[in-house]
């Protein structure tokens, strides 16, 4: 096993963070991506973990500025896997992760540029055969190849999970905010260029891309008498009503239930 199976604390943990080029929602200026930066923050707060940052993309000035945003958090190097703009970065990233053999891979849940489909972590998990956990809120401890982590659920709920390492975990905006990026370390940090073959993303090439149209939003009108009701209505998150919680079932029963649901919802035909 590549990971350190004897480690009983997060110390000595080898963490890789996948970072992407962010884009400011108002000005479209490149920057460190918010969720990826939170992933870096989480890695940095793991006691004694050795953290390496990986970015697959192009070597461009604007991109470099954005990547330096991560360096400014106190990171020495970002490994930049060179890919051509039309490339599907999954194979290259999977190769890099196989080689680097980290126990934990962190990334933002969704990129701020390009497809931003949020599927990349799943594809990587599939390619590597590792488990994936979403909405990571904290890593509590790492012991004998197992990590105890907290997963963030809607409305501040937390769920404690144990996962076998190596694993991939995604971080969204419920994770702690990223620390300030300092100018000095940002420009002193190094970008290590690694060459890798680019697999052209054939499907993407066939797509037609156009700017999104702004669509009118329906206002939620709350008829209520008291301020408390209005507050509750405003603060309420869509609760996926219905559903069921399965406990103490065999994996087969669980899979069966999920399969049934997907069919009902029309996801699988």
């Amino acid at each position: 096993m590549p990971h350190n199976a004897t480690s009983s604390t997060p110390g000595g943990l080898n963490v890789a963070v996948l970072v992407s080029i962010g884009r400011h929602p108002l000005t479209a200026r490149t920057r460190r991506a918010d969720q990826d930066a939170r992933a870096v923050e989480m890695a940095l707060t793991l006691d004694g973990a050795s953290v390496s940052l990986i970015h697959a993309g192009q070597q461009e000035r604007e991109h470099e500025e954005a990547l330096r945003g991560y360096l400014g958090m106190g990171i020495d190097t970002v490994n930049l896997i060179q890919q051509c703009p039309q490339a599907d970065v999954v194979p290259a990233l999977a190769d890099a992760l196989r080689q680097g053999a980290p126990q934990l891979v962190l990334s933002g849940a969704r990129a701020e540029t390009n497809e931003a489909s949020g599927v990349l972590p799943y594809l990587l998990a599939e390619a590597l055969g590792w488990p994936i956990i979403t909405n990571l809120a904290a890593v509590e401890k790492v012991e004998q190849g197992m990590a105890t982590v907290l997963q963030a659920l809607p409305r501040g709920k937390r769920r404690r999970l144990r996962i076998r390492l190596p694993a991939i975990a995604t971080v969204d905006s419920s994770a702690p905010a990223a620390r300030q990026s300092a100018f000095g370390p940002a420009r002193r940090g190094a970008l290590e260029h690694l060459d890798a073959a680019s697999d052209i993303d054939e499907a993407l090439a066939a797509w037609q891309v156009q700017p999104a149209r702004k669509r009118p939003k329906r206002l939620k009108i709350v008829k209520s008498s008291s301020a408390r009701d209005r507050f509750k209505a405003a603060a309420a998150k869509a609760d996926g009503g219905g559903g069921q919680t399965l406990t103490d079932v065999t994996p087969e029963q669980g899979a069966e239930a999920i399969f049934k649901l997907l069919k009902e919802e029309g996801v699988l035909r």
């Binding site: 400011h24 620390r179 300030q180 300092a182 100018f183 370390p185």
Partner: protein
């Protein structure tokens, strides 16, 4: 005996002083290099002392007279003592002059003693309490041993019988006096301020502050640019040795008079900052050791003796304590009250910003909302993170002429980030109606304008400041205008005093910049505005730090108020002693807690005048003072007061400029896909 003893004492004291001086100089030389004109600087010392320094000292008449008597007497007495008693030149005339000098010094020392009984809280105790006695020892001792020289006592009076005993006593007194005055001067006693102070005046890092006899303003308040071109250079000041050597020398010149402490709004608010202690901490750091030997007021809430530093150790520790805690540095509003008041012309604000630069640029540790504001400035060019293309939304109905359309105008109106603030929009509207009433040819940059960089710079983010400034300079270089007028003293200061250094040969950045009060005052003198009689209540005026102390503009706002028929009820602290509103230097962003809030104290100053209204000239002041709970005086910008009093002429002879409006529509913009 005294004839042989005195020269020995004098010359050994001088020798020890010389050794001490070398040691002291080596402490200063630990700092970074900074080139100064050595000979020219030294030649300037008497003038800088007698004119510029005395100008500050004189604000306190008592101490100014005291200092003239003591220091003047001492310098003369010391020189003559070396000639007369050291080299044994027994001239009765010199003896008499020496007697006069020591008398003057003695009178001075009585005044020093009186000031210190009991000492006001701003003065340091400890060794400083013995200073008047030491001054007396020196002056009385020298006086007594000079009596035979002047012929008042017979020669040889100290050589027989009782004279021997008197001679022994005198020798002891003189040893004490010499110890304090010569030895202590370079070995770190209270008299160190004389030695370090003289050299500080010679090698001051802002020689522009000193007058040169040709008249004119001698003000130097813009922060100096940090060089960002070397990737490997450390940015800002981490350790005492990272200051330039003449900054270290400046800190060493502090006399611990506490005038800065008495003026500091953060100290008064109970925030953990005391400019005097900060300077002393720098001295402690430079020499190495703990602050336990500091005998003045501490930083509020932080006991003395728990911090220590080293010339090559960090000033602010990442964890735990070292020399200074970060809250101390982030409490400062950069109001410059301390610098204005310091008789030794020490530059506190420069030092504080130097240390903040390190914390922000190297540690990435700007407290509270600091990081968010800086990120916003980087991403959206304004501290609030608003869409930069919405800068003119507030003025949708005003048809503001754009520089992009006009290309040139007499006045470029710099709107500032107040465009995003509903309160400040009222001020801007008022000022625009004033400009229109006076038929001024003006234009705005609109969405092309960016934050001036003031806040970023005071928060230590020199990189963001320089980026913003360079882009603004680029934008400004595309248009022709005679002057920039702004309602924001912070933009005013930065555009006027801090952009110049970043200009290039192709895009020079020395603009003629005016605060709106100055410009209105010019319009009034040119009879371009007519006013109704003032009918409101009594009014006081709050000087914004960045307009007053930073730029010396105290008169124009008052002239405008007078032209409105307002008689100003001045606050006790006004003009160069105006108390900060608490809004400068990013202080509301870093928001370090204290016992009370600075704006509350300022509104208390207003209340004492009994005024119903306080006139202001700064969006920050407006926001800070209006944040004080009612009941309190009303707050209005000068532009609002002027606009309210305007008599607008009949529509028939309205300005041609208004009839031109609306301006030619802008060509459709290509949308990048």
């Amino acid at each position: 005996m005294l004839d042989t003893l005195l020269p020995i004492l004098l010359f050994s004291a001088l020798l020890l002083a010389a050794i001490g001086a070398v040691r002291r100089v080596r402490l200063w030389r630990q700092g970074r290099p900074s080139s100064v004109p050595v000979i020219k600087g030294l030649m300037q010392v008497p003038r800088r002392y007698l004119v510029d320094l005395h100008h500050v000292v004189e604000r306190d008449k008592y101490i100014s007279h005291t200092h003239v008597a003591t220091a003047g007497g001492f310098v003369l007495a010391a020189l003559l003592a070396i000639v007369v008693h050291g080299f044994g030149l027994q001239s009765a005339i010199l003896g008499w002059v020496l007697l006069a000098a020591t008398t003057s010094m003695f009178i001075g020392s009585l005044l020093v003693a009186k000031r210190r009984s009991p000492p006001p809280s701003r003065l340091s105790k400890g060794p400083w309490m013995r200073l008047p006695k030491s001054l007396m020892a020196f002056s009385l001792g020298m006086f007594a041993v000079t009596l035979p020289t002047a012929g008042i006592l017979p020669e040889g009076v100290f050589q027989s019988g009782l004279g021997w005993i008197a001679a022994l006593v005198l020798a002891a007194v003189i040893v004490w006096g010499l110890g304090e005055m010569f030895f202590g001067m370079t070995w770190g006693g209270p008299m160190k301020h004389a030695f370090a102070g003289a050299l500080h005046l010679a090698f001051h890092r802002r020689p522009e502050r000193f007058s040169d006899g040709t008249g004119g303003e001698h003000r130097s308040t813009g922060l100096k640019a940090l060089k960002l071109d070397d990737d490997n250079a450390k940015l800002g000041v981490e350790k005492p040795a990272d200051f330039t050597w003449n900054q270290l020398l400046g800190f060493d010149a502090c006399v611990q008079c506490g005038r800065c402490e008495a003026m500091c709004p953060a100290f008064a608010a109970g925030q953990p900052l005391n400019p005097k202690k900060l300077i002393q901490d720098m001295v402690v750091g430079m020499a190495g050791g703990s602050d336990a030997k500091y005998y003045g007021s501490p930083y509020p809430g932080k006991p003395v003796g728990e911090h220590e530093g080293h010339p090559h150790g960090p000033i602010v520790a990442r964890q735990g304590t070292s020399l200074v805690d970060p809250e101390t540095l982030w409490s400062c509003t950069t109001c410059r009250a301390c610098v204005e008041e310091c008789p030794m012309m020490i530059e506190h604000v420069d030092a504080i910003v130097d240390m903040r630069r390190f914390l922000t640029l190297e540690h990435g540790n700007t407290p509270n909302k600091g990081a968010e504001v800086l990120d916003n400035l980087i991403a959206t060019d304004n501290p609030g993170g608003f869409d930069p293309d919405s800068r003119l939304h507030w003025a949708a109905d005003l048809n503001l002429p754009l520089m992009a359309d006009k290309q040139e105008a007499d006045v470029l109106l710099w709107l500032g980030d107040g465009v995003f603030d509903m309160r400040n929009q009222r001020t801007l509207r008022a000022f625009i109606s004033v400009l229109r009433a006076a038929n001024v040819d003006f234009a705005v940059l609109g969405n092309e304008e960016r934050d001036s960089g003031d806040v970023a710079r005071r928060l230590g983010d020199e990189a963001t400041f320089q980026t913003l400034a360079r882009r603004n300079i680029q934008t400004l270089s595309r248009y022709r205008f005679a002057r920039i007028v702004t309602c924001d003293p912070h933009s005013f200061h930065v555009l006027k005093n801090e952009y110049g250094e970043l200009g290039t040969a192709q895009t020079p950045a020395d603009y003629h910049v005016q605060h709106h009060s100055t410009y209105i005052s010019e319009l009034v003198s040119a009879n371009k505005l007519t006013f109704k009689a003032w009918k409101g209540g009594s009014v006081t005026y709050h000087d914004p730090c960045y307009l007053g102390r930073y730029n010396g503009e105290y008169e124009a706002p008052r002239d405008v108020l007078k032209a409105l028929g307002i008689e100003i009820k001045e606050m006790a602290r006004s003009g160069y002693r105006s108390r900060c509103c608490g809004g400068g230097g990013g202080a509301p962003i870093t928001d370090i807690p204290g016992k009370q809030r600075i704006p509350d104290m300022r509104m208390e100053d207003v209340r004492e005048t009994g005024a119903d209204l306080v006139a202001v000239g700064c969006p920050q002041c407006t926001a800070m003072l209006e944040g004080v709970v009612e009941p309190r005086a009303g707050i209005k910008d000068i532009a609002e007061l002027v606009a309210d009093a305007l008599i607008i002429e009949t529509p028939a002879d309205q300005s041609p400029q208004r009839q031109q409006a609306p301006a030619a529509p802008r060509p459709a913009l290509e949308v990048a896909s």
